[in-house]
């Protein structure tokens, strides 16, 4: 792998990496034919982000032939290469990314003014492909606005705020902080703001509903979008299916996929809905029926589809991820997840279905595609398949 980024694009690359660092601790790097994919996911698998840089973003883009290469590394190490954005802007002329397969090193070479050359040889680990399965184009509600609008909206919420609820009607969007039911409402500060559809560049609501998701992880994208001036598009469907925020231009695409709280309704609709219970106390296996903060993740070792293409039916491949409200005590990388551990989480009053549901987590490699045709294309059902579909 041999890529060169020049001029102002170095800063864009650096900013993307910094914004991914707001999601998770590891950076997944996968050079693909359609571009370089940089991804990150949080430990509870409720937030995922991917930046895809098209070959045209680079002044040279050569990827390894043959077996797809993918790796992951501590995101802090990569951030150290691009530590100071201000300095990058002023002094870096080009950035060369090369793979040294023999030594398992990914080398970032920054050619700076005055002849200074900074070389960072970073070690990496092989990893499985990390791709969330989602189909934003099929979502009912689509919005697009200049990043300033969202940044200005978000500024009203304290940085520590975890969750916000976004509700839409035909011509308005409300953003308010999400307060747990059990919190004494008289003690909590409730903030709500309303945006009219004409503040957006595009505002299309097919289903009037509300989604609740974690705001913190979004801030990375907001910073990126604001600094690059790219409009942010927001897609969501029903509660329980993820909300996707993206930025695109001709040479890059960034998608931030955040799981949303699912509705209170039936428990067993495709095993996807759960009782909306308050987030469980940390480390309490018994309460793991929580809210379904879930994003289907495709962690197969097969060359997966890129995140922007319609998902291959996720079900058996997909792994549904649960969020424990407190940081998930399990922080192992997906490839190491054992099925039995998942089962622990499933112990709850809902009974068997959950167990089976959980056993799909991080399922290893997948059944042949023939099986997929029996499943409805549940692009937005980013959760586990029917319990009948017991994949082991």
């Amino acid at each position: 792998m041999d890529c060169v980024v020049t001029g102002g694009n170095v800063k864009v690359l650096a900013k993307a990496i910094h914004s991914l660092s707001r999601i998770g601790d590891e950076l997944y790097v996968e050079p693909q034919e359609d571009g370089l994919a940089l991804r990150s996911v949080n430990s509870s698998r409720s937030a995922y982000a991917c930046f895809l840089f098209a070959p045209l973003f680079f002044s040279r883009y050569t990827i390894p032939i043959g077996l797809a290469f993918r790796c992951k590394m501590a995101i802090k190490s990569v951030q150290a290469v691009f530590r100071s954005i201000a300095t990058l802007e002023k002094t870096v002329e080009k950035c060369h990314i090369e793979l040294d397969e023999q030594n398992n090193l990914l080398t970032f070479t920054l050619h700076c003014k005055h002849g200074l050359v900074k070389t960072h040889n970073l070690s990496f680990q092989d990893s499985e492909s990390l791709q969330a399965v989602f189909d934003k184009d099929s979502y009912s509600n689509v919005f697009r606005s200049h990043p300033r609008l969202l940044v200005d909206a978000v500024v009203h919420f304290p940085p520590s705020l975890e969750e916000v609820t976004v509700s839409v009607s035909d011509d308005r969007m409300w953003v308010k902080n999400h307060v747990e039911d059990e919190t004494d409402r008289s003690k909590a500060m409730l903030t709500e703001l309303c945006l009219a559809s004409d503040e957006f560049e595009h505002f299309s609501v097919q289903v009037q509903n509300s989604v609740t998701f974690c705001l913190k992880e979004l801030r990375g994208l907001l910073v990126f979008a604001e600094s690059t001036g790219l409009p942010i598009s927001m897609y969501f469907d029903e509660p329980g299916s993820p909300v996707v925020l993206s930025v695109t231009d001709s040479v890059l695409e960034g998608n931030f996929v955040l799981a949303t709280l699912s509705d209170d309704s039936n428990l067993r609709k495709n095993n996807t809905k759960r009782a909306c219970t308050p987030p469980p106390p940390p480390d309490d296996f018994m309460n793991d029926d929580m809210d379904s903060y879930l994003i289907a993740m495709d962690t197969s070792v097969m060359p997966g589809p890129s995140a922007s293409r319609p998902p291959s039916p996720p079900l058996t491949n997909s792994t549904s991820l649960k969020q424990t409200a407190a940081a998930n005590h399990r922080t192992r990388p997906p490839s190491e997840e054992e099925e039995e551990e998942e089962e622990e989480e499933a112990v709850d009053s809902s009974g068997p279905p959950n167990k089976k549901f959980c056993s799909l987590f991080f399922g290893s490699v997948l059944p042949p595609s023939s099986q997929m045709t029996t499943q409805p294309l549940t692009g937005q059902e980013v959760l586990a398949s029917d319990s009948e579909d017991d994949v082991q």
Binding site: M73, A80, S84, G115, L116, V117, N121
Partner: protein
């Protein structure tokens, strides 16, 4: 100017009197070497030298020539004492260290000799403060025996580019490796940290390189913890000279311009790390 309240009689007793209209011309440079509490002051007719050492492996010296002072009187060939540098800096900044233009603290430093405290008269805006700081028996600073005849490699760089490198150094690396060579990579700073290694290469023909005189390829490692304090001196300086001798000892000399544009020097010496450096 200020501080003329002292009687003539007092002046007779001091072996050293040094005055500055702007105490920052002393305090700023002392900040560049404050990584330990204690410093050895050594005054000669040429000026003042302040030395701070760390574990006998590293030494920093700040030189303030007599010309920098508005008044500099010394009655002996050499006057030396040890003093708590942190306390001294606190006193020099006793008026809050404001950087408002036109406002400065004037200083008169007086020392009566062995056993006496160092007396500081500080004045700002008509308010005078007198500080007396106890002195101790000066320890003999380590002689690194670094002499120009033994120097194998020397470069002089503009501080700007080195500042960037030092601020980005991977602090998870225990050592800073310096390679100097008449051939590629010429001048290289390397770190070996948790996530991998990093190299900063300065070519000999860079316009940041004011002087490049390397006679043989040398790679030496120095403990990062010992060199990190030198970043303060680097931050103040406009030029730095990096020299290594045949034993691998490192000498960093920083040219610092004070508020009035006068030149002072700060120098760091460091022993190479005992483990054999790989080439």
């Amino acid at each position: 100017m200020p501080l003329s309240t002292q009687s003539q009689g007092d002046a007779e007793q001091y072996v050293l009197v040094a005055s500055l209209d702007n105490a920052r011309n002393l305090s700023n440079i002392l900040k560049a070497i404050t990584f330990k509490d204690h410093a050895i002051f050594s005054a000669t007719p040429n000026g003042l030298k302040v030395t701070v050492e760390d574990s006998k492996c590293m030494q920093a010296n700040a030189f303030i020539q007599s010309e920098i002072f508005q008044e500099y009187t010394i009655k002996e060939d050499s006057v030396g004492f040890q003093i708590n540098l942190t306390v001294l800096l606190d006193c020099l900044n006793i008026f809050g260290g404001s950087t408002a233009p036109g406002v400065s603290t004037a200083l008169r430093m007086c020392y009566k000799g062995y056993g006496y405290p160092l007396t500081l008269f500080l004045e700002e805006g008509g308010v005078v403060t007198v500080c007396k700081i106890n002195t101790q028996e000066p320890e003999e600073p380590v002689d690194f025996e670094f002499c120009s005849t033994n120097v194998t490699n020397k470069v002089i760089l503009q501080s700007e580019s080195l500042k960037e490198a030092f601020s980005e150094l991977d602090m998870t690396s225990e050592v800073l490796q310096i390679t100097m060579s008449p051939s590629q990579p010429y001048f290289r700073l390397s770190t070996f940290g948790n996530s991998g290694n990093a190299h900063y290469d300065y070519p000999k023909d860079s316009d940041m390189m004011e002087l490049f005189k390397c006679t043989k390829t040398q790679t030496n490692r120095y403990k990062m913890s010992l060199l990190k304090p030198s970043t303060k001196a680097l931050a103040l300086s406009c030029k730095v000279s990096v020299r290594t001798d045949s034993r691998g000892f490192l000498s960093l000399q920083y040219l610092v311009r004070n508020d009035d544009g006068q030149i002072c020097f700060v120098e760091y010496y460091c022993c190479p790390d005992e483990e054999v450096a790989e080439d």
